[in-house]
């Protein structure tokens, strides 16, 4: 499993052993953030650090276990209610003059959000790099819910996070019109996006 070293800047004293032991000069950087392109994941720096300031972080996570659709539906229904509870609590908090009620509603809003997050994590959105998460972002970019939707942020995430569970999307060349294309992730048989040729007319690359 690929790992890289990450330094916790709050614990690091910035003056010692990891700089000396790294075989690849990855730790000796001006901003103290370990150079992830140079780090080969050997872990020597983490062992050498007297302050326990370096963790080895896994780079390729296994896919999250698939949930049954009925479980996901039951989870999503609860998440919808939790979102409503949060919204109601926020509205009450912002309109009341009673400080006790405002505190209580701030607590309910926070609590409902945490419960909804936990539900959604369990329902298939544990990892930012899962196809679930990235496909959702892609669909929001394709059909943004409004002009204010932060497109730049969504695009930047898609361009920096690599998917961990895309099951080998095949590349094909169409022998009819010579278009090269990537298989869609929709479970359908691959077909040429230009001339719709299928089966033997496609050459796997």
């Amino acid at each position: 499993m690929k790992r890289i070293a990450v330094r916790n800047l709050r614990l690091c004293t910035k003056d010692c052993l990891c700089l000396y032991v790294c075989p690849n000069g990855a730790t000796d950087t001006e901003d103290s953030i370990i150079d992830k392109d140079k780090c080969i994941g050997c872990g020597v720096c983490a062992d050498a650090c007297p302050s326990k300031a370096i963790s080895m972080v896994i780079q390729d996570y296994p896919p999250q276990q698939k949930k049954k659709e009925s479980v996901v539906n039951a989870i999503n229904r609860l998440a919808e209610n939790k979102a409503k509870e949060e919204k109601a609590a926020r509205q009450i908090a912002s309109s009341t003059t009673d400080n006790n009620l405002r505190r209580l509603m701030n607590a309910v809003a926070r609590s409902s959000r945490l419960v909804a997050e936990d539900l959604l994590r369990e329902g298939g959105y544990m990892l930012p790099q899962s196809s679930n998460s990235l496909d959702l972002l892609a669909s929001l970019i394709a059909a943004p819910p409004s002009d204010e939707f932060p497109m730049k942020a969504a695009n930047e995430i898609l361009s920096t996070i690599e998917c961990n569970d895309r099951t080998g999307r095949g590349k094909y060349r169409c022998t009819v019109c010579f278009t090269e294309f990537e298989e869609e992730d929709d479970g359908e048989k691959p077909s040429c996006p230009m001339c719709h040729a299928e089966g033997k007319a496609l050459e796997k690359l």
């Binding site: 949930k67 659709e69 998440a79 209610n81 939790k82 919204k87 006790n100 926070r110 419960v115 997050e117």
Partner: protein
């Protein structure tokens, strides 16, 4: 007879206590998690699992903005845990967009929160319990147990506010467990969270500002 707190599991054993459970005052609360008396179940009650029809729900067409807000704030936390600081900020930005885009509810009041949480407890969590059990899905059962306990406490505190107003909050603090969302009222947070068992420093004190 033994009575068990359905939030934290505290046992009130009549054999070793002086007062029978039913004679405790109505405002008596669990010494561990402060759940009201009504959230205690007698040993017998808890042992009889009722068999219910499993209610399969329809596909949800689309996640609402409020759910998307939680989905993306959750991914922001996930990115943070992997030390992906930049991505975490970007996910938070998207979460913030959806929080603001969530449409206003007509006439939100504490009664509404009481009704929503009652609906969670009487229908939605039971339903999740049945579906997750029949699918032998341990993760989903875990999320059900935590969420249901937190919802019971939120419902109980909300009901108390509706019954008697906010004086019981006046000279004390409100705490929320930053991991599971458990809400606790008291001068200091509990030593460990009665629901998810994290230590007290994982509790956040809730301020009055918006």
């Amino acid at each position: 007879m033994k009575y068990i707190c359905s939030v934290c599991g505290y046992v009130y054993d009549e054999d070793s206590e002086k007062i029978p459970f039913t004679e405790l005052p109505d405002d008596w609360t669990c010494p561990m998690c402060k759940a009201p008396k009504s959230l205690f179940e007698s040993e017998e009650e808890t042992e009889a699992p009722e068999i219910r029809e499993i209610e399969e729900s329809d596909d949800m067409e689309q996640l609402s903005p409020g759910v998307l807000a939680a989905l993306f704030s959750n991914l922001a936390r996930g990115a943070q845990k992997q030390y992906k600081t930049r991505e975490s900020e970007l996910f938070s930005e998207i979460a913030g967009y959806f929080t603001a885009a969530s449409p206003s509810l007509p006439e939100a009041d504490p009664e509404m929160i009481k009704e929503l949480t009652e609906n969670d407890l009487t229908i939605l969590y039971r339903n999740l319990n049945d579906i997750a059990s029949s699918a032998a899905d341990r993760g989903a059962l875990r999320v059900k147990v935590w969420g249901e306990k937190v919802t019971k406490i939120v419902n109980a505190i909300g009901s108390r506010y509706i019954r008697e107003g906010g004086d019981f909050l006046s000279s004390t603090e409100i705490w929320v467990c930053s991991i599971c969302g458990f809400v606790y009222i008291g001068d200091t947070p509990p030593a460990i969270c009665p629901v998810c068992k994290v230590p007290d420093w994982k509790f956040d004190r809730i301020e009055g500002g918006t």
